[in-house]
Structures are given as structure tokens and as C-alpha cells.
Point group: C2
Chain length 230, copies 2
Amino acid sequence: MAEGCQPGDRLPSEAEMIDRFGMAKGTIREAIRILEAQGLVRSRTGPGGGVFIHPVSEERAAALLGNYFYFQQLSIDDIYQIREALEPELAASLAGRLSEAQLSALEAVMADYAEPARTAEEERAQHIASLRFHAVLAEMSGNPLLRFLIRFIANMLSEITVSRQLYAPPNPELWKSGMDYQSRLVAALRAGDGDAAREVLRGHMKNAHRLMGLQEAAVTQRFLSEPGII
Amino acid sequence: MAEGCQPGDRLPSEAEMIDRFGMAKGTIREAIRILEAQGLVRSRTGPGGGVFIHPVSEERAAALLGNYFYFQQLSIDDIYQIREALEPELAASLAGRLSEAQLSALEAVMADYAEPARTAEEERAQHIASLRFHAVLAEMSGNPLLRFLIRFIANMLSEITVSRQLYAPPNPELWKSGMDYQSRLVAALRAGDGDAAREVLRGHMKNAHRLMGLQEAAVTQRFLSEPGII
DNA sequence: CCCAATTTGTTCGTATGTATC
DNA sequence: AGATACATACGAACAAATTGG
């Protein structure tokens, strides 16, 4: 940063750094690993290789931030408080700005869960796929911060749903109402009606919040009633 | 994770890892550095020392995520789109739940910028301090996700304000209206009126968004008019 | 297809710094 | 004060990967 390096620029080779800083190879390499773990550089072997500055990828940033929340145990309420605030604004800001190709991309995601689930495995897959709808929607935002936050939160909710098995209690209402809200959302987006899109997504989030809260309670209940756990 | 380790647990010593994984000291050390850079472990020298699992701190998480946005150049609009969505909800969720000690802590922060700034340096300090008000407020939320996001965004806005010198064009209106909104917010929180708190903070954000947008435009304008820049 | 050069990756042995008992 | 148990650092050699001739 001090030298104004840009992505793509090469850092000095190990040998040069050993000379310049008067340190041993191992020490230099550990320092480079620290940068690499943060996603700031990548290294390649061979001639023309070396250590190169790299913009931190969204995946890396999400993984690193995920480590933080791994220790925080978020509740469904915590996550939906944010989703209820952010997602409606995303919808409003996208209304009338999406191409027909983008709108049909959303519909293509919805096609992945058009049919009701018949097994627990299908139930799980549908939960994940319906969260992907929101990630795809966020991808279309011109706001990098909003895009990252919504995608990150959808991913985290995905992981929590799987790890806590919140998909386990079969719930056709969750699936059916979700489908309904999402198709009404695409219609509002296509019509360019921002206020309608905001309201549809607000309803979607409130409804999902309520139903996921019930799933969470059902799973907790089931654990509590398992003999020998408590 | 696979072995169910908890914060405070010790990882095997370097010597043990060398044996267990059949790798050399340098390789093991690089691996540990990768974990350390992510904030997942800390290492101490000496007897009783070693590598210990550590919950990722908020500071570390914010720094790592900040690396991502370093490459994204956010605009004032991007940041305020999020602030306008999140901060009013934070206010509403806190109304009537704060102790008198917490309410006076907020007032104590406000005291740091009770007087109008007389120099550019004071102007800068007041910008930072008034963002600290929001960080302190977020600290009082029971939602770890909301807490982190608001504090992170306030910090980032702080950095952007300083690095782009958005405090440079003197703007007494920004200061005066900010003070006004914040004291009305504390009153609404004290009264336990969530809807009022939400509305005050919504107004605060919309107003700050408008004025910071003007600051951004003024700075851009000033750069454009500097001879020799373009 | 192979060979040579370049650069990171890995290993081993040794020495040093640091905190605890 | 000294022994012990750790991480930290150094240096030389070797291995693996990639590129270009």
C-alpha cells in the first residue's frame, strides 16, 4: 500500500526480500503466508512466478467473516432482523432496472424448486435453492456493500439451516408461500414498481421469519424430547 | 473443528505436529501462521505456551473484511443505502430497553462535539466522534450480526471521510442537524417509543446522506478545478 | 519432446529468545 | 539461579512446478 502497488503487481522474490530485510527464508515465507491467508496475494511457482497482489475475492472475504460468526451463535431472529431491513431495499432499488435476461435468470432459479419436496433430502435442497434466489438477486445490485451483505447472510442462513437441520420438520407452507412471494416479486420487478417490490419482499421476509422461527422451535423441541439428551 | 476444540484449547506443539503429519518445522509453522492471520489461534512462547484456539475478535474480523472493500471503492450512496435500512431498525429495537447508564453513555459521546468546530482539524474530529455515537449505540444491541454490521460500516465511513477529506468543506448544518437528530433519538429511546426512534433515525440518515453527498460532490469539484489535475 | 533456468515449496539441523517452575 | 519447554529464527540443501528454448 505504501508503495502504491496495484492488483497484478509482483512483490520482490523471496531471495530479494531475504537480502532487503536481512531475514531468513522461513521468516519471509511466514510473512507472505499471512498476506496470502487474508487473500491479498497469491503466489505461483516457476519462471515468471512469484507473489502477486490480488484483490480479495468475495468468497475469501465471506469465509473470513464467517469465522467470526462461528463463535457468535446467531439466532434466526438475529438473521431475519437484518434480512427484513435489507432485502426490501434491494428489491426497491432493482425495480425497473433489470433486463429481461436477468428477470428470466431469477425465474430459472425458481424452477429448481417448482415441485413440492417428497423427501427430507429434497426438502434440504429446496431450502438452499430458495436462498440462492436471494443471492442471485443481490448479484444484480450496483451496490457492492449491499451485494456482499445479502449474499453473505443468505449463505450463513444456508449453513445454519443445514447444520441445525431446520429443514427437517416438513413444512409445505414454507415452500408454497415462498414460491408465491418470489413470483410476485419478479412480477413487480418486471413492472418496474419499486414500492410493490419492497412490500412483497417485506412480506416474504416477515413470513419466512415466522416460519423459520417455528422450524427452529420444532427442532429444539425434538432435541429436548429425545431421551438421554438432557 | 473436527475434533470439537473450543476456545482456550491447546493445539499440539510444533514437535508433535512434525511427528504426526510427517512434515518439516517450516511447513507446520506456515500452516499455523495461516490460522493466526485469520484470528483463529494465538501462540505464546515459553513453558505452558503453545498455540491456542481463540475466538475471532471483532477488530480482526472488521480488518479482514475491510481488506475486501479496499478494492471495491464504495460511494457515499452505497454506504447510506445500508445505513438508512439498518440504523432505524437498531433504534426501534433498543427503545425502552436501555438503562439510564446506557442512555447517559450516549449523551457523553454527544458531549464530545457539543461546540461547533472552529478549525478543519476540529471538523475532522467531530465527524469521527459523531460516527462513534452510532458504534456505541450498536454495541447495545443484543443482535451480534446487527452490532457488527453497524459498527463496521461506521468505521468504514470514518475512514472514507478522512481519506477523501469529506470533512474539509466546512458545513455547520451537518453538525447542527446531526446534534439535533441525536438528542431527539436519545429522548425517544428514553421514552421507550420505538416508532419515534425509528423515524428520528430514518430522518437522521436521509439528512446525513444528502449532506455527505454534497460534501463528496464539493470535494470532487475542488479536485476537478485544481489546475493541472485533469 | 526434452532440457535448462527460474521461482516457490519443503526439509533438516542448529541456535536463540522467552516464560515458567 | 538454573533447568525446562516452548515458540522463533537462521542457513544450507533439495524438491517441485512452470516457462521458454
